[in-house]
């Protein structure tokens, strides 16, 4: 059985938010749209997004590394968000494993968002229905698009090709090979959700910070002596 998914390479993600922007652009106009915003130019801007790019600092200064971490629905193979939905608005497609919400059935009870450990679902405050990544289901099968563009908007937008898209159940697919070769992993494996999306771990690299310290330019020092 097919299971479409994204594989995200944390080695090459530069945190530019192109995927999040492109996702918003496509999906606010596509079949899943609009993705409404509240106060977009005001004091507390807020809005509905399928994809968020977060940033973490890993390690102890000066040996730190910045990790940019895009997060969207992982299209879990055992999605806890689906069975809890009282209306059947949330469902997982048998044919390709995409987890979707039927906006016409959703009553906006938010129970599915409580049931997702990853915070991947966001209610649309204006439309009052639950929204989440659709893997661009309205473009990946669109035969009016050239073959090369039948991919999720985020995958096409990524300038560093940090996002791969394909069938993780097909061992010959690019995504399966990437997972096998680079040790792809799932988020929060402790809950048995079996996320279809996987992440490729950051490989150790020569630490720039260590080199700086070796040149005597440790920012923790004044005139070569440790700051008090």
């Amino acid at each position: 059985m097919k299971q479409l998914a994204l594989v995200i390479d944390l080695n090459v993600c530069v945190g530019c938010h192109a995927c999040a922007t492109s996702c918003k652009e496509w999906n606010t106009g596509g079949a899943a749209g609009p993705l409404t915003d509240q106060n977009p130019y005001g004091k507390d801007p807020s809005g509905t997004f399928f994809n968020r790019v977060q940033t973490y600092e890993v390690g102890e200064f000066p040996a730190t590394e910045t990790v940019h971490f895009p997060k969207s629905c992982l299209h879990c193979e055992d999605p806890p968000c689906v069975p809890v939905c009282p209306t059947g608005a949330s469902y997982k497609r048998a044919e390709d494993g995409i987890v979707l919400v039927d906006y016409d059935k959703c009553i906006g009870c938010k129970y599915c968002a409580w049931a997702c450990p990853y915070g991947a679902r966001e209610i649309d405050e204006q439309q009052q229905v639950m929204k989440k990544c659709t893997l661009c289901v309205d473009r990946i099968y669109d035969t009016a698009l050239p073959e090369s563009e039948r991919k999720p908007a985020c995958v096409i937008a990524c300038p560093t090709s940090a996002r791969l898209f394909g069938d993780v159940h097909d061992p010959a697919s690019d995504v399966s090979k990437a997972i096998a070769e680079h040790g792809g992993y799932a988020l929060m494996p402790e809950w048995g959700t079996r996320p279809a999306n996987q992440y490729l771990p950051k490989q150790p690299k020569q630490s720039v910070a260590a080199a700086t310290v070796a040149r005597g330019m440790d920012p923790r020092t004044i005139d070569g002596a440790m700051k008090p």
Partner: protein, 312 residues
Amino acid sequence: MNPAWSVILLTTLIGLGQGLLLAMFGVEVASRLALTGAPAAVFYLAGSALSVLCLGGGLLASFFHLGHPERAWRAAAMWRTSWLSREVIVLPAFIAAVTAYGAAHFYGWSCSLWIGATAALLAIALFICTAMIYICLKFLQEWHTPLTLVNFILLGCASGLLAAAVLAGFVWPLLMPALALVAGIVTAAAAVTRGMTLARNALLRPASTLQSAIGISDPKIAQKAQGAMGGSFNTREFFHRRTLQFVRSAKWFFLTAAFALPLLLIALSLTAAPPRLLTLAFAVQFAGLLAERWFFFAQARHPQNLYYQVIS
């Protein structure tokens, strides 16, 4: 979690309605067994009306939780998998059964005991549905324990019994002391199980960490950005944004108002017997139960919060 008033009112009000029905059914069984005298029909009638009022109020409150209340009927569809859907089916059925129970006593139908038994079974079923909505979310570790069900049942029964005792004080005073005594016993039992739950939750260690959330094992990880500057659904729905002090006060408030004070007032009423004391006990306990439910939601730490530590 960020407690929602609609859900707090729903769970406390229907718990009260369920407890009240169970109390009335208990009285009817006891009177048929000649353990107590049989109260007049007005006790059952007023009790059923009060119960239906609470259940209806809870149902009304629940609509305020929905983004699309006009589609609420759709929620009955997925009863095979969803406890929420099951609750949506059992609640109206229970309201109908309580209405029938009141009618049976009003018209003096001989089958009232059977209707009462059906309603009592539905009350238990409703307790199970409501509690399972929370218990089945295994990563909300504070809720994922059978104690959640035990507390829902005991707290609902405590408030329902106390309401029945107050009611008896007005319409059938002979019953009042016995009902007050049972209400006291159930309140004490609820204090024990709620206390056990507090102790259990104090020892919980979250199974998810920032390390498992982003899949990086380094012991030191600090979030620098969460992908939005002005907050998002994720920051509004899952954080109560109250101080630790506030949460602690809520805990002590509910321990006092839901358990200690009602127990004291019930004990006093057993000796001095003015029904006003019980009315006060009921009001204080219900306020305590609202705080208890607020705390129940606020205390649950959702693993998604790991991804939303820092705004910048």
